[in-house]
């Protein structure tokens, strides 16, 4: 499985993501700088977490308009798998790859803690090794993870089974609509999520709940 991790100035969880990808899938991802205009040939592109451009203006807004995103958008429409985590989710959403917006956490504070995630859809490239309805521990670390969208979009997301992850058991850390923690596009080629599965894959992290997510990439 070949993967690429896109790096924008201010992104800071690219190492975590690369480590997780390499540890679990066994192959080292390539790093792609934001000014490049074409992706290398890969099976998966990950837009990692961090504070691209300092989260200035709006989270992900400036990164979403950088050169590499055009190629990502074009290829995602043709089925290239794209995973956006945290700031990556914000970026691909700002870029129009996913509907809705991520706004300030309800209590206006950054939050870093473990939450429980319910796997709502296990038919995706990132969840196929999970049971539907499984509940896993996963950390979040964000100030603007409050997912909102209009009623029409929400209805569609739910009806089309495009909510991939939901915060379970009252652990919603940010006030997101319907406890949404992660969603996918219509074709399932693009997934965005706020939590950081890359920080829960080995015993050092206290638990290894999110390892199967990365293992799913091998099957897909």
């Amino acid at each position: 499985m070949k993967s690429a991790v896109v790096v924008f100035p201010g992104i800071n969880r690219e190492r975590d993501m690369m480590l997780a990808l390499e540890t679990v899938t066994g192959s080292k991802p390539v790093s792609v700088w934001h000014t490049e205009t074409e992706l290398p040939k890969v099976d998966l592109v990950v837009v990692p977490g961090g504070f691209s451009y300092g989260d200035y203006l709006r989270c992900g807004a400036i990164a979403a308009r950088s050169p590499i995103m055009q190629d990502i958008r074009a290829k995602a429409l043709k089925g290239l798998k794209v995973l956006g985590v945290c700031n990556g989710f914000q970026i691909i959403t700002e870029a129009g790859l996913l509907p809705g917006v991520l706004v300030r956490n309800k209590d206006l504070r950054f939050v870093c803690r473990q939450v429980k995630l319910k796997v709502e859809n296990n038919q995706t490239f990132f969840t196929n090794r999970m049971q539907k309805g499984a509940i896993v521990s996963c950390p979040v670390a964000h100030g603007e993870g409050n997912y909102i969208c209009d009623a029409e979009t929400l209805k569609r997301l739910e009806a089309e089974n495009r909510v991939v992850f939901r915060y379970a058991e009252g652990t919603n850390p940010n006030g997101a609509l319907n406890d949404i923690a992660g969603i996918m596009n219509e074709s399932g080629s693009v997934i965005g999520m706020m939590p950081h599965p890359e920080n829960m894959i080995e015993p050092l992290h206290g638990r290894t709940d999110c390892r199967p997510l990365f293992e799913s990439l091998l099957a897909a």
Partner: protein, 730 residues
Amino acid sequence: MTLAHDTKITPDLVKSHGLKPDEYERFVKLLGREPTITELGICSAMWNEHCSYKSSKKWLKTMPTKGARVIQGPGENAGVIDIGDGDAIVFKMESHNHPSFIEPYQGAATGVGGILRDVFTMGARPIAAMNALRFGEPAHPKTRHLVAGVVHGVGGYGNSFGVPTIGGEVNFHARYNGNILVNAMAVGLARADSIFYSKAKGVGLPVVYLGAKTGRDGIHGATMASAEFDDKAEEKRPTVQVGDPFTEKCLLEACLELMASGAVIAIQDMGAAGLTSSAVEMGAKGDLGIELDLDKVPCRETGMTAYEMMLSESQERMLMVLDPSREKEAEAIFHKWGLDFAIVGKTTDTLRFVIKHKGQVMADLPIKQMGDEAPEYDRPWVAPKLQPVLTNAPAPGDLKAAILKIVGSPDMCSRRWVWEQYDSLIGSNTAQIPGGDAGVVRIRGKKAIAVSTDVTPRYVEADPFEGGKQAVAECWRNLTATGADPIAITDNLNFGNPERPEIMGQFVHAIKGLSEACNVLAFPIVSGNVSLYNETNGQGILPTPAIGGIGLIPDVDLMATIAFKNADDVILQVGGHGTHLGQSIYLREVLGKEEGAPPPVDLALEKTNGDFVRGLIRAGHVSAVHDVSDGGLGLAVIEMAMASGLGASLVLLTHEQLFGEDQARYVITASPAQAAAITAAAAKAGVALEQVGTVTAEPTLKIASGPSISVADLRIAHEGWFPAYMSGEL
């Protein structure tokens, strides 16, 4: 123009620059003429307390700074220690007290930014951050706003920059009402053979300005206020430094990339007194002159004078001496990261610090004298008045109420509200998040380091010498409690006005105490910071020598944590029963008194007991470990229970035994079978050890025939105070 180059130097102007008449005289003699206004500004920046350590130097020199693992002690941007396998840890702590009181968010943010820069200037990638915070009493009208702003600022900068914040301290006390303390610590990882220093080498080499543009940020307030302004004075008033973590993150990546290329000869971050102190330090250390052409300095505001450029404290900037053959390469790296890169001067063999602006020489100063030969004082001091040992502290009328009160008190309650606002996980290496005895991050493989910041200001106030010892001992103990070998420390000495002999006496005694502890525990000081004049209306803060320590864990799989692990494990106390209630939390929170001598620190005992506990951890014989500090044995056990959800059944204990804050003690748990072996080993090692209870599956704290309190109720009290206070409910 604000301060024209030909501004006449008056006694008032000298005074407003914080120079005493004799200091100014010394400066004039050094020059052999009247200084220019730019020169006066440079002198005031270099010779102020913050840069010159003129009141503290004499005493700092007495502290132990050497050890087998010390690569670089005090005197550089940060200390460097060897942790084996070619790895080095670079770390330091620094205060940003005053700016944080004025503008809590930006003050704290730029404090974090400054200390991170100190660490990566030396070629290290920051891998952990800590923050030691002291606020006024909760009821003070400013406190809530300051807590909110400071915590938001610490997180705002560290989270965006991308360093895990893995611990710290928060205290409240009326003595910080007008003077909060914001001490930030950063820890970086480098290769031991590629550490970068600030000492310039080679004549005629380019001096390069890197990072963000220069504005009028932080230009000395007093100076500006008394200078002759024109009608635009309002517009030019000194501005608060604003942090830009995004630029700093880019600066980090650019610096590390450039360092790896081999083009960097010397590098120095621009911290306090910006361009002035960075240039003078590089030159003075390298026995070289520096010539700067200010026309080349990237400015973000128009019409900046030489004076302003030299004194600006704009953040996220660096100064570097570069290998001239690598200039293009260096520039390309900086432009890739969207940063300014400008050759602003060169090194010379004249030992002069020469500043040119618009073709005119604005300053021409002897560089060594500005840097290394600032005035130094032996300030008068008097031995602190000590408090008598407290002899009677009555038992509580209602033990259950007393426990709940302590558990939910501002100083003892959970700091979750604080540390959940910090990204403690970034890097994927965090093995212990805040909430335990020390933060732990993996280096690689199984090797990890533990980090802790500690000081108990009320002890230092009551007895600066014992309190100084205690700060070091507690830090050592917290590291030990994770299974780490304590290696070295950084300090942040926060005190009042050193021109008052009682304050200077506190300072001197605290340093003696710290030093003694460092010596006995083989725990040298490799970097630090002094913050004096923390005083409002003649009332100083509690003396607060914060200690930040690093310990090495060879095998992180054997790291200990505070949470109980198994029901029926035996709870053992190492170090004997508590007896000492003077200056204790119990005394303050339950009996409403702050008096008596603090607990004495027997350093030899600290070492024996700590080494014993560390041995047990490394042998895998214990299931949980917690040091005994604030609140005594009782609070230690309760914290272990709350962290696990299991309960504890304790033997009959007096209130001294429950709440005494005697030092050199730990609580450990082990299976009944292990416990027997441990007891035997303790006897052999001459370590006091007794069973004080057992871990129970039922989540309740039971004290013999006394009260029983559910862990759920303890948690409600413990977790409740901070959120309730911050939301304004208290």
